[in-house]
Point group: C2
Chain length 195, copies 2
């Protein structure tokens, strides 16, 4: 099997925990390599203060045939910038039929740029920005009910408390293990080791 | 209140998720700054493939009066290296009465260097290395029962599935919020936003 890349798209003040379970398992399989990508090559500082180095920029990346997935963790800057160059990149990735997984603020980013129109992504998972979205009457919904995760039309979306559910869904899409093993991994991390 | 530092000690193949919740909240309070420390200044690559830059080295760090906590995430290299320079640093931090929080492989590291002797840290939380420790008949125990977290004698120890419990205990020790607010944070992230 050809080793494929999984891109983690980092922005300023990216959320440390949201893609942490996902990338650790993906990068351990031997079938995928996790690489970081951003709007430029400057290290991106997490909410927790980590300075993560950047492998690629969105304007230069061309290797869509060896790309297995694009992961967009949340963070404080999604609401502050339009990030049109990231939206252009997301469009290219989706056009190449590569799945895109977004969590927390990144989910709102996808919605604002119209990527989730005509999908099952109703806005229910955008809990973090619920008030903001309520103000905009997003897709006509006024009563938001929280949802941990939605998967449809090549997009996975999840809320900030769903890092484990987000990872589990990503593992199923990337087929990093059997379904039973993936679910056992989830149960272990969701419920802990107390027996 | 003087802003104090919280050190995140990174080793090669540090575990992305284990301290992720903890540092994101700590670094957001305004009362603490999270900084990275390691055996040298070379970026340390996580299990998930992130290259994190390093602020301090253990041999040079002297600012113990402005240090609030040392956090040691787990990772694949704890079992491969003796890391005597890290053990010397942990001893200095403990001598300065600064709390030390270790998870997963870092917990085993502390045990092997004798830091957990004569404490309530029984080895129960070292699930990840259970087999290895069983072989060594650690502290005379042969029947390990998993425990999510132990806090005693200035040390917090937790197993790899206890990132949330690890963060909650750290928040209580650092008093980043009221007890009720900390517990509400834990409930939200443990159980998700489904209502």
């Amino acid at each position: 099997m050809q080793v494929k890349e999984v891109l983690l798209l980092l922005t300023d003040h990216w959320a440390d925990w949201e893609a942490s379970y996902a990338i650790a398992e993906i990068n351990s399989t031997g079938n995928y390599l996790v690489k970081t990508i951003s709007v430029d090559r400057y290290p991106k500082i997490s909410i927790g203060g980590l300075r993560a180095e950047i492998d690629y920029t969105v304007n230069q990346y061309q290797c869509f045939t060896s790309l297995a997935m694009l992961i967009l963790p949340g963070g404080f800057s999604w609401g502050e910038h339009p990030y049109q160059e990231i939206a252009d990149f997301v469009a290219k990735v989706h056009e190449a039929s590569v799945p895109i997984a977004a969590i927390c603020g990144a989910t709102v980013f996808l919605a604002k740029h119209g990527f989730l129109d005509h999908t099952k992504h109703t806005g229910d998972e955008f809990d973090y920005f619920m008030e903001e979205l309520k103000g905009q009457d997003y897709k006509g919904q006024t009563n938001f009910v929280s949802t941990q995760l939605v998967a449809d039309n090549g997009y996975i979306t999840a809320n900030e408390t769903a890092a484990l559910e987000f990872a589990r869904e990503i593992f199923h899409v990337l087929e990093i293990d059997t379904s039973d093993e993936i679910d056992a991994w989830y149960d272990k991390f969701k419920h802990g080791m107390i027996r």
